[in-house]
C-alpha cells in the first residue's frame, strides 16, 4: 500500500475502515539468501537496504519478540552527526543524510524533525573543545555553529543563567540535528522492506547456529525451527555477547542498562534537543508535550531492562540545575534498555571470525541516530563482503591493533563511555 494524500482521503471517506496492515507478518521459509537476526531499527534497515540498494530480496529478519520491542522502542529519539573523530564523523553524517530522505525513500512518515541539537558549554576549556569539534564537523561538510551566551539566551530564555558553579557560556549547535519518531522508523523500514519481499518473522528466537564441516555458518536454529541461510547478519545490540557466544565468539562488549524518562505533557517549552555540559542530562520535547530526557548509564552490567534510583536522582538533578522550572513537572514514565557498551564507545560493523556470520554491534547508547547509516553500511558489507568506506574503521580487530575510536578518551572501561 502506498501512502499519499489520496490514500488518506480514500480511507477517511470510508470511515478509516479500509486501512491494511503496513507490513506482512511472515512465517519462516526453509532457506534465505540472507538472514538478519534482530528486528529492531538496524536489522530492518539492513534488510531494506539489501533489497532496495543491493538487489538481495530473499531476506528474512528474525525477531525474538515483536519488531521494535528492544532498544528501537526505548531510546530518546535523537538524531545528530556531531562527532569529532575520524571514523565517526563521516559515518554519522552519512546516516544524517539518509535521515533527511528517509520518509520519501520509505513512503512512511517517521516524523523526522530537524529542530536542532545544542550542546551547552560551561567553561573556557569546554568551549575550546566544542569549537574544535565544530571545526572538525565543518571541515567535513557538516553544519555546526558555536553560539555565545547572548545567542543561547535568545534561543532558550528559560535556562538557569545564574548558576555560579556551572554558568552557561554558550553552546555548539547543529541545526540539522533533531528527533524522529522511533516506532515509526521501525514500522517504516518494515513497511518498505516487506513491500520488496523481505520476510519479517516475529516471535522467532535464535537458539543456535548451523555450521558446516568447515565451520561456516549455513543457517540458524530458532524457536520456530531451522532456517537455512547463505549469510547471517546479527543486529542484536544489547544481546550481542549472548548471540555471538552461540558461535563461540567473545566480544569486546559489556551489556549495561540505560534509563530514559518522560514527564507529563506540558505546553511547548524546549525548542530543540539540548544537553547540559556540566552534568549528564539531555532533553527534548515530544510532539505530545512530554519532556523526554536521560543521562548516564547505570554503570553496572545488566540484562534487566530496568535501572536503579541513584541514576534517576542524578539525571533529575542535572535537569534541575539547568532548567529549575521543570521541578514542578511530574515524571510520567521511566524505563531501561540494554546497551552494547563497547570498549572504546564506538560500534563494530565487520565480518566475524566465523565464516558467513556478520557483526553489527557495540552501539553503546548512540544506536538510534545511526539506524539508517548502520543499515546501509551493514547491507553493503553483507552484499559485497567488503566494508563501506564510511564504516571501514569500525573493525572488530581494532582493539588488538590499537586503532580504537574513543570519542570520550575513557579507555577500556565500558561503563564510562
Amino acid at each position: 500500500m502506498k501512502y499519499s494524500i489520496f490514500s488518506l482521503a480514500r480511507a477517511a471517506l470510508s470511515g478509516h475502515k479500509t486501512w491494511q496492515p503496513t507490513w506482512r507478518d511472515a512465517a519462516p521459509k526453509d532457506r534465505y539468501d540472507v538472514v538478519i537476526i534482530g528486528g529492531g531499527g538496524h536489522g530492518l534497515a539492513t534488510a531494506w537496504f539489501l533489497a532496495s540498494e543491493f538487489g538481495i530480496r530473499n531476506v528474512a529478519v528474525l525477531e525474538k519478540g515483536w519488531i521494535g520491542s528492544g532498544n528501537a522502542g526505548r531510546n530518546t529519539t535523537i538524531i545528530r552527526s556531531n562527532y569529532g573523530l575520524p571514523g565517526n564523523t563521516g559515518f554519522y553524517e552519512l546516516s544524517m543524510k539518509l535521515w533527511e530522505r528517509m520518509e520519501q525513500d520509505l513512503n512512511y512518515n517517521a516524523m523526522v524533525s530537524q529542530r536542532g541539537v545544542i550542546n551547552l558549554y560551561h567553561s573556557d576549556a569546554q568551549r575550546d573543545a566544542y569549537a574544535r569539534r565544530g571545526n572538525t564537523m565543518r571541515i567535513n561538510g557538516i553544519d555546526a555553529e558555536l553560539l555565545d551566551l547572548a545567542a543561547v539566551k535568545k534561543m532558550m530564555p528559560f535556562l538557569n543563567f545564574d548558576n555560579a558553579r556551572f554558568p552557561v557560556q554558550g553552546g555548539l549547535l547543529q541545526r540539522r540535528g533533531g528527533t524522529a519518531r522511533h516506532d515509526a522508523v521501525v514500522w517504516g523500514y518494515a513497511h518498505a522492506a516487506s513491500a520488496l519481499g523481505v520476510d519479517i518473522i516475529q516471535n522467532c528466537e535464535v537458539t543456535g547456529f548451523v555450521r558446516d564441516a568447515n565451520g561456516k555458518v549455513t543457517g540458524v536454529e530458532t524457536s520456530r525451527g531451522k532456517i537455512g541461510a547463505g549469510k547471517v547478519g546479527m543486529a542484536v545490540a544489547g544481546s550481542s555477547s549472548r548471540v555471538a557466544a552461540m558461535a563461540g565468539l567473545r566480544l569486546p562488549i559489556e551489556s549495561h542498562v540505560l534509563q530514559a524518562f518522560v514527564s507529563e505533557a506540558i505546553k511547548p517549552l524546549i525548542p530543540n534537543v539540548m544537553t547540559f555540559g556540566a552534568g549528564h542530562f539531555y532533553v527534548s520535547q515530544s510532539d505530545k508535550g512530554g519532556l523526554v530526557f536521560g543521562g548516564d548509564i547505570d554503570g553496572y552490567n545488566s540484562y534487566a531492562q530496568r535501572g536503579n534510583l541513584p541514576v534517576m536522582e542524578d539525571v533529575c538533578e542535572g535537569g534541575m540545575a539547568l532548567i529549575p522550572m521543570i521541578g514542578r513537572v511530574r515524571l510520567l514514565r521511566q524505563w531501561g534498555g540494554i546497551m552494547d557498551m563497547s570498549m572504546d564507545g564506538s560500534p563494530i560493523i565487520d565480518k566475524s571470525p566465523v565464516d558467513g556470520l556478520y557483526l553489527n554491534a557495540g552501539w553503546c547508547y548512540g544506536g538510534f541516530k545511526a539506524t539508517p547509516g548502520s543499515g546501509f553500511v551493514f547491507a553493503h558489507l553483507i552484499a559485497r563482503d567488503q566494508s563501506h568506506k564510511e564504516a571501514a574503521l569500525f573493525r572488530l580487530d581494532r582493539f588488538q591493533r590499537g586503532a580504537m575510536i574513543d570519542e570520550k578518551g575513557q579507555g577500556a572501561q565500558p561503563n564510562l563511555h
Binding site: P252, I253, E254, S302, P310, E313, N415
Partner: protein, 91 residues
C-alpha cells in the same frame, strides 16, 4: 539495588562504584599480546550470576567482591575482595 557491605552493613547503591567482572586476571608480565588483549578487552558479559568488583567509596572505601545476577539484579553474596583487606578480615 542495595549492597550489604561486610564492614558497613546494608547501604544504598549510590555509595558504590562499579569496576566490572572479577574474573579477568592480569596476565604475567611476559605473557604475550594475545593474553593482554584478552584481559583488557574481551568479556564473558554473563547473562546470569557473575562475580564483580565494587568499591565502597561512600563508606569504608574497601574493594568488595559482589556476586550478582545480571538478569534480575539479585545479590547473593558480598565479600571483601582478594587483597590486603581480605587478609586483615581473615585474621
Amino acid at each position: 539495588m542495595r549492597i550489604t557491605c561486610p564492614f558497613c552493613g546494608e547501604r544504598e547503591l549510590g555509595e558504590f562504584t562499579y569496576l566490572g567482572d572479577a574474573k579477568p586476571q592480569r596476565p604475567a608480565a611476559d605473557a604475550g599480546e594475545d593474553a593482554v588483549y584478552d584481559y583488557v578487552y574481551l568479556r564473558d558479559n554473563i547473562a546470569g550470576v557473575m562475580d564483580e568488583n565494587w568499591y565502597h567509596g561512600g563508606g569504608c572505601r574497601s574493594w568488595l567482591k559482589v556476586t550478582r545476577n545480571t538478569l534480575t539484579h539479585e545479590i547473593s553474596s558480598v565479600e571483601p575482595a582478594a587483597g590486603a583487606g581480605a587478609r586483615q578480615v581473615a585474621k
